[in-house]
Symmetry: C2
Subunit: 146 residues, 2 copies
Amino acid sequence: MLPVVTPINERARPRRRNRTRQRQRLLEILRSTDCHPTAASLYEAVRVDSPRLSLGTVYRNLDVLASDGEIEAVPCTDGAVRYDGNVEPHHHFICDRCDEIEDLELSLPRGLAARLRREHGLTPCRVRIDFSGLCRECTDLLPNPT
Amino acid sequence: MLPVVTPINERARPRRRNRTRQRQRLLEILRSTDCHPTAASLYEAVRVDSPRLSLGTVYRNLDVLASDGEIEAVPCTDGAVRYDGNVEPHHHFICDRCDEIEDLELSLPRGLAARLRREHGLTPCRVRIDFSGLCRECTDLLPNPT
DNA sequence: TCCAAAAATAGGAATAATTCGCAAAAATTC
DNA sequence: GAATTTTTGCGAATTATTCCTATTTTTGGA
Ligand SMILES: [Mn+2]
Ligand SMILES: [Mn+2]
Ligand SMILES: [Zn+2]
Ligand SMILES: [Zn+2]
């Protein structure tokens, strides 16, 4: 049974949020790259300096950061979840071959949200456009571009 | 190590493809609804008539149907994978509260694919636009539309 | 600076979704 | 209908993620 009203992305929060080295490091890494790492690769990255880090903490903190709007979870076509330190509205190109995710600065389809509300009774709060196909590198690998 | 060229969605196929009751039933169900069921719910649905069906067979056949282009896998924001019997190009509205998926017949952003190729060197073969927010039903449940 | 309360952690167990391996069954071709 | 190939059911294995809990860390106030 679904709750009558579930404010989006809002789980029961603790009164305050402590500053922990683990959480800060994750955010730092995510902000310093334009890659879209997985939980596992973030785990590896942080463990170089802090080998005591546990994987559960990574998942917990990624959830926390995401519900605080500090990062964004990007569910990929192959079922994997990747994380994005760039919370500015933008879209993605996901390569079908190497699964790399590339940020796209593209203007949103104009007026689509308004049309959705007017014509469909839908209240969109986010639009995610994923283009998939072959990235530049993978395109170049193809022997015979038919 | 990635293979140099991986034709998209093409795995090693058997020489021929047999017609099996299990596979046909799955396709039948997916074509007869505009819902986007999960593997588990398809399993339940088929098992009403064929209790011997195994879950592995469901997953195997969904993969087969998807690589044959008969159905489409829809990875959702919550990490779940849903399946779509409608392979005509269309987009989705995914409700943040009830996770229902609604088909959207919306014209594609014009010229975006061409721009991607020209300006970014990307070769898109598919564009997926997921709108998320609240569906009509869930919008109506909100007590105070602020 | 020390304390008490709350929040977060490590580590491990538990879950859930999906995949794999294989002998038996079903489908197809001849 | 026999031979060949595909597919199935079943259970085990894998993977990603979540849950549990005792311990540690953080924090705001005395
Ligand atoms: Mn991004
Ligand atoms: Mn659909
Ligand atoms: Zn690529
Ligand atoms: Zn809804």
